[in-house]
Every structure is written in structure tokens, then in C-alpha cells.
Amino acid sequence: MNIWLVMLAGGLITFGMRFSLIYLFGRFEVPETMRKALHYVPPAVLSAIILPELLIRDGALHFSFDNIRLLAGIIAIIAAWVSRNTLLTILVGMAALLILGWM
């Protein structure tokens, strides 16, 4: 199968999924339970992305003090909790990772 055809079909399917509920919920009301449930999409999806980034190295769970991404992540979580500032959190987390990497 041609690469262009694969890309085009994959692109159309991806667009279709992004468009699907924006389109449907424009025509029908969002059910109440669904509306409630949708509030939990951001914390659920973002945590499901964050935790493996901090804890998984080369496909395996890496839960120890040698894991500097985990330590830097914990420091960033504390910074985010205290400051509630995006830029500061990133700077603190990045600095923590670099310093821990040197040590």
C-alpha cells in the first residue's frame, strides 16, 4: 500500500475522531452524567501521561532514588502545588533534573 494513501487514511480517521463529539454534541444535548464525567478527563488523561514519564525507563517500572526523573518530578509537583505557576514549575523541575544529573 502506498505511503501517501496510508497517511491520508490515518489523517482522515484522526480528524474524524477529533471532530466526532464536537460535531455530535453540537446537534444533541450532552447527557448530565456524561457532562459530570467529562470534568475528570483532564486530570485522568494528564496523570496517565505524567506517571509513566516519571516512573518507566526502557519499558520497565523504575521506582528508586536513582531515578532522577522521578525525584525531579516530585520536586516539580511540590513547586506546582505551592506556586500554582506554570513557568516556575517547569524551571524548578528542569533545574532539579539537571542538578540531580550532575550529582
Binding site: 484522526t14 475522531m17 464536537i22 475528570y40 478527563v41 488523561v45 494528564l46 544529573g101
Partner: protein, 233 residues
């Protein structure tokens, strides 16, 4: 400055921290796609036709290993399944828009555009010019993705690996999610999703991510219905 313009730039500004992490990611994709045997034009076009980071990495890999086309297409669909959740989540805020706007914003709806936008909408509610925020976040990401892909194609393998810039992405997500964790159901949703994501990490095609997200959503919703409003904090 008019309202729409101001909100557009708010969206761009909210996106900037994410772009720091996206740029090296796009460069790595560009270099990897060439390496997988795609032509420079094919590699670049995939960034606008698919416009989905992880799906592009997977596609390049599968093309390299001569996977049959229908299997690649199916894989792209599964890897991008989470976008349906984003679509549902943003739908109430985009309901009033014309079809043209809905199509444009759907095309721009990636992980990195969704995250700052949904937080903005949950704080501000439905506003007449609110869609400009998603346009600002989505367009600045799109532009950065195209440019970084081109850099990666141009520079090939000459990208230094010492700088851990990829860490900027999880850091940005941490900065976004932590301040929202105030009520118990939210914390439970985040924790349960995180744990399932770790346990199910080795499932193929990011299915672990979908499973984790759905678990978190169900647990959060169930706890919310159980708690009386006074008990929530």
C-alpha cells in the same frame, strides 16, 4: 486590542511552555522518519496530514518494518483514540460555533492544545470569543510542529541528546494538573489513572493510556455522585 485578538494571544501564551518540549520532539520525529525510509517530503507532510506526535512515531516505525497499510491505519486509529475524549470534553464550549470553526479547531485538537484550553474553559465557562483561545494554542503548536519537523529532517542525526528537553512536556502537564487537584474525586481520578497507566504500560498501541483515562474518569464520577456536596472537600 479587540477581545478575540486578546484571547488568541492568551492561548498562544498558555501554549509557550509546551512548545519548549514539543520542539525537540518534532526534531526527533523528523530525523526518525528519514531514518525509517520516508522521503523528506513524506516526512514533512505527515506532520500536517496526521498532525499527531505519537502516531507519527509509530507510523514511521511501522513503515520501516514494512507493515501492511491497513494494519498501520488501524494502529493510528487506536493510538489516537484518546482524541475522542478531548472532543467530548471540549464540545460544550464549541457548541455555538459554525461548522467551519468546528472543523478547523478539530484539526488542531492535540494533547498539547487540549490541556491548556480545557483548563481555561473550565475556569472561564462558555464565552462568545472563547474559541480563539484554542485557536491560539492549537495554531502555535501546529506552526512549531511543522518548523521542528523541518529542522529534524534538515539536521538528521545531529541532534544532541544530552539536553533533557523532552522532560519539559511532563513538567508542563504537572504544572497544569496539580493545581486542579483540590477535591477528593479529582485526586482519586488522577491517582487511579496514573496507577493504571503504570500497570498497563506494556499494552500495545497506547491502550494502557485509554484504559487508565477511562478508569480515572469512572472513579472520579462515581465518587462525586456518592459524596454529598458538603463532603466534597
Amino acid at each position: 486590542m479587540n477581545e478575540a485578538k486578546k484571547i488568541f494571544w492568551d492561548g498562544v501564551r498558555a501554549e509557550v511552555p509546551l512548545l519548549i518540549g514539543v520542539f525537540p520532539f518534532g526534531m526527533i520525529y523528523g530525523a526518525l522518519a528519514l531514518n525509517a525510509g520516508l522521503s523528506p517530503v513524506e516526512s514533512q507532510m505527515m506532520s500536517s496530514v496526521l498532525f499527531a506526535g505519537s502516531a507519527q512515531f509509530v507510523t514511521a516505525q511501522l513503515i520501516q518494518s514494512a507493515t501492511p497499510g491497513p494494519v498501520i491505519i488501524l494502529t493510528i486509529a487506536v493510538v489516537n483514540l484518546r482524541h475522542m475524549l478531548y472532543s467530548a470534553s471540549l464540545a460544550p464550549y464549541l457548541k455555538h460555533l459554525s461548522m467551519k470553526w468546528k472543523i478547523l479547531l478539530s484539526y488542531l485538537l492535540t494533547d498539547e492544545a487540549y490541556a491548556p484550553s480545557v483548563l481555561n474553559y473550565e475556569g472561564k465557562g462558555i464565552t462568545p470569543a472563547g474559541h480563539w483561545f484554542l485557536l491560539g494554542a492549537g495554531f502555535s503548536l501546529w506552526f512549531t510542529w511543522q518548523v521542528s519537523t523541518a529542522f529534524g529532517i534538515f539536521l538528521g542525526a545531529r541532534i544532541p541528546e544530552e539536553l533533557p528537553l523532552d522532560f519539559a512536556l511532563p513538567l508542563t502537564f504537572i504544572a497544569m494538573v496539580v493545581p486542579t487537584l483540590k477535591k477528593r474525586p479529582m485526586i482519586a481520578a488522577a491517582l487511579s489513572a496514573g496507577v493504571i497507566a503504570l500497570l498497563a504500560y506494556n499494552l500495545p498501541y497506547k491502550l494502557g493510556l485509554i484504559l487508565a483515562a477511562l478508569t480515572g474518569i469512572i472513579i472520579g464520577t462515581m465518587l462525586e455522585s456518592k459524596a454529598s456536596p458538603g463532603e466534597m472537600l
